[in-house]
Amino acid sequence: MPLYYDDDQAMLRDSASAFMKTEAPTTHFREFRDRNCSDGFSHDLWKQFAEMGFSGMLIPEDQGGLGMGHVEAGIVLEEIGRNLSPSPFLTTSVIGVEALKAADAATRGKWLPGIIAGETVIGIAVDEGAKHRPEQIAMTAERSGNGFRLTGKKQFVVQGAAADLLIVAARTAGAPGETDGLTLFAVDKDAAHLSMEAARLVDSSMGAHVNFDGVEVDADAVIGDVDNGWAVLTRMLDAGRIGAASEAIGVGAAAMDMTVDYLKQRKQFGRLIGEFQALQHRAAHLYAEMEVARAAVLKAQQLLDAGDPKAELMIAVAKAKAGQAVSLAVKEGVQMHGGIGMTDEYDIGLYMKRDRALAEFLGDANFHADRVARLQGY
């Protein structure tokens, strides 16, 4: 498969781009931010995502979705990133759907229609500390009656406050640090003994701390196999990681574009600042970094869609590279905008904040570079 978008994919990009620019540009983001909306996104917009076919795009056709792949999801996510469009698309339609693919028919039947309709929102409850360390999960799920009893705390549950369904990783056996003994659960947000404290994050998205104080779930809440959840958890996380990388690429591309534009407008010392060679070289270097990061992301998505075992390594490469390149893009963006880059009035700072949250989500560049080293055997 050649490493560029085919005609269908290019069409999808055009329509996703037009949609986000029209329906959810940065002004839309600002509106929701300034209104202090507790969900952090518009449920109306989420319905429009459904009308566009985005919300169920990864769901197989025989289950009512479009049966598309991660390249296509990445196309939508990149446009989301470019426009800072607030939505539960990544957690719901990418990560949540990837997890539900491993669930039984009853569970799928219960949740997929709502996702396709843009009515259901999913939150992902994996992290327990400030840094993403999935093998360190300590939260317990003890056998109890016909099901399990979940006890522990989760944090950085993005869109947790608005979620209807939580995908929860808990330990049914083993000890923190072990990859064996983990199990994935689909937990209704309204379950008894489940409480939540929402926190507005730096990018105005909503994260939540979730407290499981002996939450009882039935056995059919299990996704995949008991004790052997690491593989399905990794698949779910990897879908989220490469999705976050795509969204980050959109953030970085928009930051770079608006910065290059600014270089062509702002005058100092009687010249456009884009004439200054030092800035030209930095912009050109940034362009190279962004292009390489973009290639890594697309390659990883193609491998993932092809079921290639090399996808895992390439996803780690892509998340690490996108993290580093996009961080450079927003830093250079703010610095080259000078004083106005520091103001809330200009958009460039919003991109810096969004990058910060995306970079941290499901493992930062250091986490993934370390993972690359481990996968290479050192």
């Binding site: 840094k131 730096v202 930062d364 986490f367």
Partner: protein, 385 residues
Amino acid sequence: MSDLETFRAETRVWLEANCPPEMREPVRDETDACWGGRNPTYKSPAQKLWMDRMAEKGWTVPDWPKPYGGGGLSPAESKILREEMAKLGCRSPLSSFGIWMLGPALLKFGTEAQKIHYLNQIAKGEIRWCQGYSEPGSGSDLVSLQTFGEDKGDHWIVNGQKIWTSYADKADWIFCLVRTDKHDKYKGISFLLFDMATPGVTTKPIKLISGNSPFCETFFDNVPVPKDQIVGELNRGWDVAKYLLGHEREMISGAGNAPVGSLGALHKELMAQDPLLRAEMAKLDVDTLAFRAMGEKFIDEMKAGKGHPAQPNMMKYFGTELNKRRAELVMAAGGSDALEWESDGSGGGAKPRQWLRTKANSIEGGTSEVMLNVIAKRILDLPGA
């Protein structure tokens, strides 16, 4: 015991007796500091007590002459005071653009009357100053500024607009670059002082990405400024401005600041789990400790009249870039905790707000790019415009 040893011993005893425990904590951020002014606000009685005691000894400005409200200390004594304050962790009693920026300029360019009057006010924290340099079209290219002072005999009438005036909405007076001759770009600027309560002065805070508004837009609409409120000669304000910028850059560089601890050491457990972050922390420690040595060397050389006069530009460049890097690593070590902007556990998002604040370090007081230009031209003597 030599005189200096005696001074050190006495200073330590005095600090131990007079610096309240609450004032031995580092200043958390700009809002945690004492800024003085006509209507001063103190975060605690201890803050006021510490300010009063230090001002009484002249140690808000230890090396200024005593007649101007300073402590009259020699360079060696100043260094000892700094060292002893650092050992106890004593914070600086007063944060002030008057001390950091205007004061040094007045000491060099002011008349004796101006020194007596303004420097004493600054030393005692009675007047809070702000800086009127940048304009919307004149950022890095400062000398293109357009704010104009029309000569009206015994006063000027000033019209124009400034931007990035730090805390202008809270300041009592402004030191301001004003064009008094439209024909010469450099030799047509004067350095004026005036009261922000003068009719015609208005300010408008600028909301920043950190959510705070430490800077303002400031508008001058027919503001009268008496002729004796000029520092230096008419139309030679650029000399004063350049001199002052050197001090501002020195200040922003963090040279001579209290020691900053190892960030990696604060996150030992994480360091064991995150080898790549640990590598960055190790390199940060190397650069932090090396730059601290550079700060000490820089101050020693400046006090001895050695060192290149353009060196503050290098200090400003390196110090602010390092500070940004440190803030990035604070965020990385903080993980998703440090993303929280509004939550109980996050102190109102202190970490992300401070992180965003540092991004201004390499812009305010001359961008890193301008610093590099100056180093290239004035220190390395490279050719070209």
